[in-house]
């Protein structure tokens, strides 16, 4: 094992938070991507057959059976570590929730999964194995074959459509400020859809958007083009409608390229 990954595992073992017979342990979130900064939490998912419990265990609820996920947190130096204990059967249920059958029933992503469930699946796709590589590879493959990607793409495109309507409505009513903000939101949702179509998830946290664009390298917009819109480089306060219309047109261009 990579010495750095081995050190991660040693830290977990030293804190006594690794269950016997766990199926998998994985780094998740920014640390798994190498995007973390000095203030980032380290997130670790552990997958077990039986619920984990210790003196320091807390939990959050999920609409699964059983309905709780245990968590532990601790500090190593100034760094906070957050450990979540998911059951193998819960992960199976999550993947079933985003089946193609569920997608074809017009269920919206926000209705199919809670935010925590979506975060878990999003992070699973890019998780780094500390233990249980076969389990992680198998679950990643199941996720890849599921409709998770299409759920998220459809949701982001729907959000983008809503923001486009808002922008046009604001422009028609003479509010360039409101239209500008709505156009920016539409653009973010369209970019999210483009990235999700490439399996690059994580739309919940805005600060990672440039990182995700760099990682996904979408064919239909370069990083420089994305960043020019993101930072409003051609926005003219004397003629905001021109920029707004260009951005909304770009949102349509993106929608045309993405297979839902």
């Amino acid at each position: 094992m990579d010495p750095e990954l081995s050190a991660w595992k040693d830290n977990l073992r030293g804190k006594g938070v690794l269950p016997e017979g766990m199926k998998a342990a994985m780094l998740a979130g920014s640390s798994a991507r190498g995007w973390h900064d000095a203030r980032s939490d380290f997130d670790v998912y552990l997958v077990t057959d039986r619920p984990w419990s210790s003196e320091g265990t807390r939990s959050f609820t999920v609409p699964l059976e059983p309905s709780t996920v245990g968590t532990e947190s601790f500090y190593v130096g100034s760094r906070r570590w957050e450990i979540s204990y998911w059951l193998d059967t819960q992960v199976g249920q999550l993947i079933e929730k985003v089946s193609w059958e569920a997608f074809r029933s017009d269920l919206m992503a926000g209705d199919a999964l809670t935010a925590r469930e979506e975060t878990f699946l999003s992070r699973l796709s890019s998780a780094v194995a500390l233990e249980g590589e076969d389990w992680i590879r198998q679950r990643k493959a199941e996720l890849h074959d599921s409709a998770f990607r299409s759920f998220l793409v459809a949701r982001s495109l729907g959000f983008a459509d809503g923001c486009v309507e808002d922008a046009l409505g604001q422009l028609e009513s003479g509010s360039a400020e409101g239209a500008t903000l709505a156009a920016r939101q539409a653009f973010h949702h369209a970019i999210d859809a483009l990235l999700e179509a490439k399996g690059e998830y994580g739309s919940a946290v805005q600060k990672w958007l440039p990182y995700r664009v760099r990682a996904a390298q979408p064919l239909h917009i370069s990083f420089a083009e994305y960043w020019a819109v993101e930072t409003m480089q051609t926005y003219d306060p004397a003629d905001p409608a021109r920029w707004i219309n260009e951005v909304l047109t770009l949102c349509q261009d993106i929608s045309m390229k993405i297979e839902v």
Binding site: L157, D161, V164, E165, L168, N245, L248, T249, Q252, D253, S255, M256, K257, I258, E259, V260
Partner: protein, 98 residues
């Protein structure tokens, strides 16, 4: 709804920005209000190139080059397609000025 006037080669058609667009099973599907339209391959080609800058003539040239049509055939096909979009409020046109 009245039938739109025929388009001139210098007119500039544009997609309506409030049209919802999806690509499903390789086809472009447009929706505006209760109108839902699935475009043919050639229709999708024209629609994708309707960026509010290209004229009808330029769009026809794209069609002619892709499908090896004569200029007149391409202009006729492009005009029919754009007329359909305009009738269904899926496009708007900027008439070229003098």
């Amino acid at each position: 709804m009245g039938t739109p006037a025929p388009l001139a080669p210098d007119d500039v058609p544009a997609r309506r920005l409030d049209t919802r667009i999806r690509r499903m099973d390789g086809s472009l599907v447009l929706a505006f209000g209760e109108t839902v339209v699935q475009l043919s391959e050639s229709g999708a080609l024209l629609y994708e190139h309707m960026d509010g800058r290209r004229t009808v003539g330029m769009l026809a040239a794209v069609l002619a080059e892709t499908y090896e049509l004569s200029e007149q055939e391409a202009l006729t096909d492009t005009g029919e397609f754009l007329g359909y979009l305009l009738e269904n409020s899926l496009a708007e046109v900027r008439t070229s000025g003098p």
